[in-house]
């Protein structure tokens, strides 16, 4: 085997406000033909910057030194004119967020044609044929129509397929995938990963797969680099890394990842005594319809039923998980419970009150007992308020008569409770990390001393290790305060770790519900079983078996 790509002492540095940030330190690695190389690490480990430097895509304040030979051509320091002959042609790249990585203002066809116009001498008709052929081969239905359509008409998975199709147009030798499935649902992730492996075989490419998810690595990669803070921790073939890791950091990563993924873990919450069944939330045949904008002036109304006749209960003291893919209606259900979304029909009772029959004042009383933590901590905290002001706001609105001193004390206690010190009180959200922001969001939710906490994808946007910390925090608080929690997530591993009972939703309906262990080990419905097996586990052998099964099933 020859080396397709070989880096030697690759360094990436950023200048930022007079400081120099060393993002990648002396990184050397090799990639052979027809090989999938995984680069794993948490955010800030330099894994993305490594490939961006190879592609010459660093931000303007970044610079790369060292060497990176691609098919015996030095890429570092290559003038952009020559680099442009390589990238998009011999090396293609797909990105994490297919939504923003495709231009919403020009048609998909025009974007794809641009690549061929740049790198080949094909005529317009030939170009169009090639693009449509590629769209077809990555599994996009009606490729003719899509060619003239726009990216925002497609779902996340379809957009990523379009990205892959445009990457394959020129038959590149190397495909770089930077967190290609992080923003996608598990079932979609499975399809995209399978697609990447399939096109790799078909077009005889090598792949660099960048991810923070060891499960994805186990599923797809032959070789692995583990990175932390810009430094290489360990490299080797996948089985060696997973079954006999040498570096401490790798062991730690594996341990964390297995903790939430594999079956032999212990349960964290004790099972509830079934005799206590005081239900806090109860919905009967709840239904929410959205009227979609009309396509033409006189066309019939398009109605989307986001929540379709859902009847469920949340018992006091339990952690109820609601799982499902995006678009399954789980967040809409949470909104109806919070009284933020009106029902089209049916009933929702919270703390014994029917939400549709109470006035604003009574709703406020109920909201005091029921708080929520949202997915994106950065956008759900007001950027112009300090942590102190953020925490004070719920006190002002729910306990207007509270004295200044006791409010101050409550706020400090609240912050300590989520593991932050009072010195954070004066900071603004942008001065905090993602994990710290989410801690503040949790502290805010706990300020009115609620009985019910709804977490809407509360840990989805966080890194694996921080996710673990936040989950532990939630579990601790839940036990200390005897909270009831509704935990909405698309990440099954997380749900499995913390929930007593699970509801599986699909297109607005409940597919299956029951105690977590039962749903996870003996799923009754095929949909649940598929959802479960789609989660990549950090075990290469298991993943290979699953892959072979899937290929055979086709």
């Amino acid at each position: 085997m020859t080396d397709l790509l070989a880096t030697k002492k690759l360094n990436v540095k950023f200048r930022s406000r007079g400081e120099i940030i060393h993002a990648v330190k002396d990184l050397s690695f090799k990639l052979s033909d027809d090989e999938v190389l995984g680069i794993v690490g948490e955010s800030g480990s330099g894994k993305s910057q490594t490939v961006l430097s190879i592609m010459g895509l660093l931000e303007t304040n970044g610079s790369a030194t060292g060497s990176c030979l691609f098919a015996d051509k030095e890429l570092i320091g290559l003038p952009s004119g020559e680099l442009n002959n390589v990238r998009g042609n011999e090396i293609a790249m797909i990105f994490q967020d297919p939504m923003s990585s495709l231009n919403p203002y020009i048609t998909i066809g025009k974007q794809m044609s641009g690549v061929l116009k740049r790198h080949t001498r094909m005529g317009n008709k030939e170009i169009k044929e090639r693009c449509i052929e590629m769209l077809d081969s990555v599994g996009i239905g009606k490729p003719q129509e899509r060619f003239d359509g726009y990216s925002f008409e497609l779902s996340g998975g379809m957009r990523q397929r379009v990205m892959i199709a445009s990457a394959l147009l020129t038959n590149p030798k190397l495909l770089i995938a930077d967190e290609p499935t992080t923003a996608l649902d598990v079932t979609v992730q499975e399809k995209i990963l399978d697609l990447i492996l399939a096109v790799k075989e078909r077009f005889k490419m090598s792949v660099i797969m960048i991810t923070h998810d060891l499960g994805v690595v186990a599923r797809t990669c032959d070789q692995v680099l583990v990175m932390k803070n810009g430094e290489l921790q360990e490299s080797g073939n996948t089985e060696a890394i997973f079954y006999s890791p040498k570096a401490d950091y790798t062991k730690e990563l594996l341990k964390k990842s297995k903790e939430i993924n594999l079956k032999e873990q212990q349960k964290y919450t004790e099972t509830q005594d079934p005799s206590i069944k005081n239900s806090l939330v109860k919905s009967t045949n709840a239904k929410v319809n959205f009227v979609l904008p009309k396509k033409a002036l006189f066309s019939a109304e398009n109605i989307l039923t986001a929540v379709n006749e859902i009847s469920m209960e949340t018992h006091e003291g339990e952690v109820l998980g609601i799982v499902g893919e995006s678009g399954s209606g789980k967040s809409t259900l949470a909104k109806t419970i919070l009284g933020l979304q009106k029902l089209s029909s049916g009933q929702v009772e919270v703390f014994g009150e029917r939400l549709s029959e109470i006035n604003k004042k009574e709703l406020k009383e109920i909201r005091k007992k029921m708080q929520v933590v949202f997915q994106d901590p950065f956008s759900s905290l007001n950027p112009r308020m300090t942590v102190f002001e953020i925490l004070k706001e719920p006190l002002d609105s729910f306990f207007p008569s509270m004295t200044k001193e006791s409010a101050q004390k409550d706020i400090e206690d609240g912050l300590m409770e989520v593991g932050l010190t009072p010195e954070y009180l004066g900071r603004y959200p942008h001065e905090l990390s993602g994990g710290q922001c989410q801690r503040v969001a949790i502290a805010r939710a706990l300020m009115p001393k609620p009985q019910l906490l709804i977490c809407d994808e509360a840990v989805s946007a966080l890194d694996a290790s921080i996710r673990g910390e936040i989950i532990d925090l939630l579990l601790r608080i839940k036990a200390e305060k005897k909270l009831t929690m509704i935990f909405i997530a698309h990440d099954l591993a997380v749900v499995r770790k913390i929930c007593d009972r699970v509801i599986v939703m699909q297109s607005g309906k409940i597919v299956e519900q029951g105690p977590t262990e039962k749903v996870f080990f003996e799923p009754e419905k095929e949909y649940t079983a598929n959802l479960l097996s789609a989660v990549p586990v950090p075990d290469p052998k298991m993943e290979r078996e699953k892959y072979i099964k899937r290929v055979q099933a086709k």
Binding site: R87, G88, N103, F152
Partner: protein
């Protein structure tokens, strides 16, 4: 339409609320003469009746007679003044658009360079200096200092006579559009889809032309609505300073002479113009932004 109605009523009452009337001269008229005059112009009716009659006439396209320019109707005055103002306004908008977006793009492409800072500095000055200050300064420099351009007058719309009015009207808008373009383009340049285009090996030129240009000018297009309004307001001042016989000048003189119908007429006319232009801008926007096109 409701917007226009509110505008008419508001203007009507504001004009009425101003102290003094069209027939207040240094020497007061004999009482019976003034009463006759008031009767002739329906000014002796109750106010609501006057408004109703005015709106009724408007619907028939009749802006009423001018109180000051005898034998002229307001419609006639508007139709003589409008071509001059139109010429001035269109030229100013085009000038502002062209140079504004050009300067803004150059600044964005050389972000944080000296050129960028320089352009943005002059841009800030352009926005902050109102045109009633800018116009005399330009006259002082080009007409009196360099003796290169005429200081005023219309002269049948002669090119050299139009340069200074157009430039002084366009400058603030140009500066604003330049800043708008710069900000928007910087944002687009740092977007993920531009990164994708770079990763596809496209040349900077191709990326700019086929990926960056369209999203960059979306905010500029939506600014065109407020820009026309600003140009219209500006033209009132600029026409006065350069002595151009345009609508703006009639407007100012009408206001000074308590020429109720003339002032009202110009207000209503400008109102219509702005509403129509905003409609045009919205339609244009729909053509550029595919998302809006789809939602129709």
């Amino acid at each position: 339409m409701p917007t226009l109605l509110i505008l008419i009523c508001l203007a009507f009452f504001l004009v009425k609320a101003a102290p003094g009337g069209p027939f207040d001269f240094e020497r007061s008229l004999p009482e019976e003469v003034e009463a006759n005059l008031r009767a002739a112009y329906n000014l002796d009716d109750p106010v609501y009746l006057q408004l109703a009659k005015y709106i009724g006439n408007l619907l028939q396209g009749d802006f009423g007679p001018s109180f000051q320019y005898r034998d002229y109707t307001v419609t006639e005055l508007i139709s003589t003044g409008f071509p001059v103002s139109l010429r001035l306004g269109v030229a100013a908008i085009l000038l502002a658009l062209f140079f504004g977006s050009l300067i803004g793009s150059v600044a964005a492409l050389n972000q944080n360079s000296k050129l960028d800072y320089g352009v943005m500095f002059f841009g800030m000055i352009g926005i902050s200096i109102p045109n009633f200050v800018m116009a005399p300064l330009l006259v002082l420099f080009f007409s009196i200092g360099l003796k290169a351009l005429p200081a005023g007058g219309y002269n049948g719309g002669d090119f050299y006579h139009m340069i200074l009015p157009v430039v002084s009207l366009a400058l603030p808008q140009m500066a604003y559009i330049a800043r708008l373009t710069r900000g928007s383009m910087i944002e687009v340049l740092s977007s993920n889809f531009v990164r994708t285009a770079k990763a596809q090996g496209l040349s900077t030129r191709t990326i700019l032309l086929s990926h960056v240009l369209k999203p960059t000018f979306l905010p500029v297009v939506s600014y065109l609505g407020p820009a026309t309004a600003a140009i219209i307001t500006g033209s009132v001042v600029v026409e006065q300073i350069f002595g151009l016989p345009g609508l703006g000048r009639y407007f100012v003189q009408g206001a000074l002479n308590r020429d109720y119908t003339l002032v009202m007429g110009v207000v209503v006319f400008y109102g219509c113009l702005i509403i129509v232009f905003n409609l045009v801008v919205d339609t244009l926007y729909g053509f550029i932004d595919p998302k809006i096109k789809q939602n129709r």
